[in-house]
């Protein structure tokens, strides 16, 4: 909670996620053990992002390790702005490098491994089907639209995605809209025409 004053009244406003991140970063610069909370906050998102991009459990683990190691080493270089975006810039670059190092004949989704730690067999099958569906859905998109959705699914805002991809915010918004318009029918959602919407209203 952050306390501010409105006249004579103290008002407590909750800290934003980025405020919390910045506090942890400041501590981690003095004591690397303090990096652990940042790791805990972002491991799941980073790993899933890598898995979505690389479609391989082992490659996702390697990339995740490399991302956090680089982030820890580069903490002194983090200045201001969204830490989440800064971290995902590192993630994006490492995933791109991983893709470049892959042998050309090795397909992107060569092993869509169901890594299900606590699911029943039935749940595992359903989850695997869902993953394959998502993979197919995203795979049908142009690369730039797919990148935006992958970062959206990682929990980044539009502005943060713009920073990661080094695009303007307006460009990211358009890519996002076109991607979702394209996926709408594949997701089984029917778009009503403007006339139909007016009729309902």
């Amino acid at each position: 909670m952050e306390q501010t004053w409105q006249g004579a009244v103290a008002v407590e406003t909750p800290l934003s996620e980025n405020d919390i991140d910045r506090e942890i970063v400041a501590r981690a610069r003095l004591d690397p053990r303090a990096f652990a909370p940042l790791y805990d906050r972002y491991l799941d998102r980073i790993y899933r992002y890598c898995y979505r991009r690389l479609s391989n459990h082992e490659a996702a683990e390697d990339a995740t390790s490399a991302i956090f190691a680089r982030a820890l080493a580069a903490l002194p270089n983090y200045r201001d702005g969204s830490f989440r975006a800064w971290l995902f810039v590192i993630a994006h670059n490492i995933v791109v490098d991983t893709h470049r190092r892959r042998r050309p004949e090795q397909p992107l989704a060569d092993a869509y491994e169901p890594v299900d730690h606590e699911l029943t067999p039935e749940e595992a099958v359903l989850a695997s089907d869902a993953r394959q569906s998502l993979h197919r859905l995203l795979g049908d998109l142009p690369a730039d639209q797919r990148r935006v959705l992958e970062l959206r699914l990682a929990g980044l805002t539009g502005a943060e995605i713009a920073r990661v991809l080094n695009r303007s915010v307006a460009a990211v918004k358009m890519l996002q809209l076109r991607a979702m318009t394209r996926l709408r029918s594949e997701l089984g959602v029917t778009a009503r025409s403007r006339e139909q919407r007016h009729e309902v209203a």
Binding site: D31, Y47, Y51, S65, L183
Partner: protein, 184 residues
């Protein structure tokens, strides 16, 4: 017409971005207020896409191992993980630390001439390791021999420039086992 479509598309794009930012801020499954400028079908599409996303999380063993590796990258004294604060650490590593401390203390005393204070057995044969020295730690026998030899060495008095003869004292500089053998 084209500019109107473009404008309408920009309005929709802004609304979609706002809506999705709202979902992100509300965190997993948290509802966001419907945006009046955004078609309901697009809102439903976003929600459905998030539901379809069943990407697995990291393996807990991998997660734990990576956490330990990352937080271990620091000075050794700070890197002792809590898991090693118990018997496993005390029984082996603590014994090594104690042995090293004893050796260091013995060396320090030998250098400062503390042999008599400890009643170390003095041998006329400087090459023979003493019992105390050999029990302290391997490799320290030579230093005990140096301490013992120093008791028997009487350096020849030399005169200073003023002609006064200095009172013979034990050699101040540390003497190595090799030079001790020469002196004795």
């Amino acid at each position: 017409m084209k500019s109107l479509d473009g404008a309408a598309e920009r309005v929709t794009a802004d609304a979609l971005d706002r809506f999705w930012d709202g979902l992100t801020a509300a965190h997993p499954g948290g509802p966001s207020r419907p945006d009046e400028l955004l078609e309901p079908s697009l809102q439903r599409s976003v929600r459905r896409l998030r539901l379809v996303d069943q990407t697995p999380g990291p393996d807990p063993v991998f997660a734990s191992r990576l956490r330990t590796e990352l937080t271990r990258r620091q000075p050794a004294l700070l890197a002792i993980p809590p898991a090693f604060g118990g018997r496993r650490f005390g029984s082996l590593a603590r014994r090594r630390v104690l042995v090293e401390l004893v050796v260091a203390a013995a060396l320090l005393l030998a250098v400062l001439g503390g042999g008599p204070a400890l009643n170390l057995p003095v041998s006329l044969d400087p090459a023979a390791p003493t019992v105390a020295a050999s029990a302290a730690a391997p490799g320290s026998a030579g230093f005990a021999a140096v301490a013992a030899c120093a008791l028997t060495v009487t350096p020849e008095p030399t005169s200073t420039a003023s002609g006064a003869v200095p009172i013979p004292t034990r050699p101040a500089a540390p003497v190595t086992p090799a030079t001790a053998t020469e002196l004795c």
